[in-house]
């Protein structure tokens, strides 16, 4: 479903001026706090009145401002799930799930049973929201939104109030929701890994403007804008083909090209399929020679392409196989190793530092 939004709004000391268009079905909006993500989402939801806007979801015009109609939020057929679950505290889980018009009937129908099963809510129905854990609350909020039968789900950093483990759990649920219910989503986040895991198309916002748009891996791995580099924590993000699994050694080997492989923690992805992995620039050690007797599984020859000095650290860009990665080291280490473009090194990466993203 096509999502097209052009929104202009002035705030005190900040202005939002963005135009985005995407075929989705899952569009990511990525940016630091204060970049205008939530303002944009609120304009789309009808919770804020922009100075000028044209917003379309599929064939429907939700808002055309100024001089045009603007649908009230309750008539836009979208559902918002935000960072805080915002469950109605005076209603049971069942009454929260059945809140939207028609939702109680849907809850009792097979479609409702499917959502309950998908989100694991059946056992929670008679509880009060105050008896739920943070992850359970967010699952109920997601279920409540899905049961309102929206045309599109607006997700405003739904995992950022949760600890890492729960965030992963909610993200996994969103992926299942995506694949099983096929509902379009607009997903706002400041976590690069979540973009890779969930979205098809991605818009990067910076200071109220669109800084980049494209497939998430592309946008994130070419951080022309310094803002993006800051946000992704100079992650190394790669999409690699699975060569084979070695269950005995507990690793999956991924093709880096040029005959090199990256050992990642053992995963179930079929050999031949592509997966996205990421690791922090801090997790990459550089050695002048191939080290001996070391536990790290990845000892990969590489070549220095570029060295950027950033404050009190050096960011080294390396060619490795057919890919580029970055290592973050101290300026002292860079001097000692006499780093310069063209220098051949061995990159050392622990298997457990390589995270599977999507």
């Amino acid at each position: 479903m096509r999502i097209a939004a052009r929104v202009q709004q002035r705030f005190r000391g900040f202005s939002l001026d963005v135009a985005i268009a995407s075929e989705g079905p899952v569009l990511g909006i990525f940016g630091a706090s204060g970049s205008g993500k939530t303002s944009l989402l609120h304009a789309i939801a009808g919770l804020a009145t922009p100075d000028a806007a044209e917003i379309r979801i599929g064939e429907r015009v939700l808002c055309r401002q100024p001089r045009g109609r603007s649908l009230a939020p309750e008539r836009r057929r979208l559902a918002l799930v935000s960072q805080d679950p915002l469950l109605f505290p005076h209603r049971s889980v069942r009454a929260n799930l059945g809140y939207a018009p028609g939702a109680a009937a849907r809850l009792a129908a097979p479609a409702g049973a499917r959502i309950l099963e998908l989100l694991g809510l059946a056992a929670l129905l008679e509880r009060s929201p105050r008896q739920l854990s943070g992850g359970e609350k967010q699952r109920v909020a997601l279920g409540r939104a899905l049961l309102s039968d929206p045309e599109i789900l607006l997700l405003d950093e739904p995992t950022s109030a949760l600890d890492a483990e729960l965030a992963r759990e909610v993200l996994a649920l969103l992926r299942r929701t995506r694949s099983e219910l096929g509902i379009p989503m607009l997903f706002v986040t400041h976590r690069a890994a979540e973009l890779l895991a969930l979205v098809d198309d991605c818009v990067v916002l910076e200071a109220g403007r669109v800084a980049a748009q494209g497939a998430p891996l592309e946008v994130l791995s070419r951080p022309q804008a310094l803002g993006v580099a800051n946000l992704v924590g100079v992650d190394n993000l790669l999409r690699l083909r699975v060569v084979r699994h070695d269950e005995d050694s507990g690793v999956s080997l991924l093709d880096l090209g040029a005959g090199e492989c990256l050992a990642a923690p053992f995963g179930a992805a079929a050999a031949g399929s592509e997966i996205a992995v990421g690791f922090y620039a801090d997790e990459v050690m550089l050695c002048a020679q191939r080290p001996q007797g070391i536990s790290a599984r990845n000892l990969i020859p590489c070549r220095v392409e570029r060295i950027d000095a950033v404050a009190h650290e050096a960011l080294v860009e390396l060619a490795i196989g057919d890919h580029r990665i970055r290592a973050r080291i101290t300026p002292g280490a860079a001097r000692e190793l006499a780093l310069e473009p063209g220098r051949a090194l061995v990159a050392v990466i622990k298997t457990s530092a390589v995270h599977r993203l999507g």
Binding site: A72, P73, E74, L86, Y99, R130, R144, S148
Partner: protein, 229 residues
């Protein structure tokens, strides 16, 4: 009529006046409390000041203003006459009006504060889930501010039972019509041999006030228990 029957009549009249004025004020109190909590129009301050005025004015002055507003030659007074065929002054209705006007700010303020405490994002979520503004008010805002409405009603009721200044000016001191507990106590205090009756009325007044407080606490506890389930 013996003394006991007369005192019962006084208490009964006070209860009727307080209950009637509360019944009249609950809906407008909820509406204005909500308006003052959520409305951002510049006129809000003016309107809010007007509603709060009886809280800061001496009740006798409020009573005089009401007498003037509802006078025979004033538009409001004429409207009242055309509706009821009587003049408002020195009737039970005057007691109700006086109690309502003086107690109203307490109710509105209590409702306003409790509605301010309702997270506006809950209302936003309700809207995006397909519920319109009025539906959202009935399903989210009102139930969540119920404790405040309850507390405001208790304050209002107690204030209405104790209302004296505006009542004596607007409604006077007519036995069986406008002689509420405070008016009766004041009358009896200047009557020789009235001390025993004063004591009985005072005791009943204290009992009513305590009853209202305990009733409200019980209702609130019940509400909390229901929410905790």
């Amino acid at each position: 009529m013996d003394a006991a029957a007369a005192e019962l009549e006084i208490v009964w009249l006070s209860l009727r006046v307080a209950a009637l004025s509360l019944a009249l004020c609950v809906l407008p109190g909820i509406a204005l409390g909500h308006l003052f909590a959520r409305w951002t129009h510049p006129l809000r301050g003016l309107l809010q000041g007007l509603v709060m005025l009886p809280l800061v004015l001496p009740p006798v002055v409020t009573g005089y203003l009401l007498l003037w507003l509802l006078g025979r030659s004033r538009p409001l007074g004429q409207l009242w006459f055309s509706l009821t065929g009587t003049h408002v002054a020195y009737t039970t209705a005057a007691c109700v009006v006086a109690a309502a006007v003086v107690g109203f700010p307490l109710l509105v303020e209590s409702v306003r504060l409790s509605m301010l405490a309702v997270d506006p994002r809950l209302e936003q979520v309700s809207r995006t889930l397909g519920r319109g503004p009025f539906d959202t008010f009935l399903r989210v805002t009102l139930p969540l501010s119920l404790p405040g409405l309850l507390a405001g009603s208790v304050l209002f009721f107690a204030r209405a039972l104790g209302e004296f200044g505006a009542t004596i000016v607007l409604a006077g001191n007519v036995a069986g019509e406008t002689r509420t507990i405070p008016v009766a106590v004041y009358t009896l205090l200047s009557t020789r041999g009235g001390e025993a009756a004063v004591l009985r009325l005072v005791a009943m007044s204290v009992a009513l006030a305590l009853g209202a407080l305990f009733g409200a606490a019980w209702l609130q506890a019940r509400q909390r228990r229901r929410e905790a389930r």
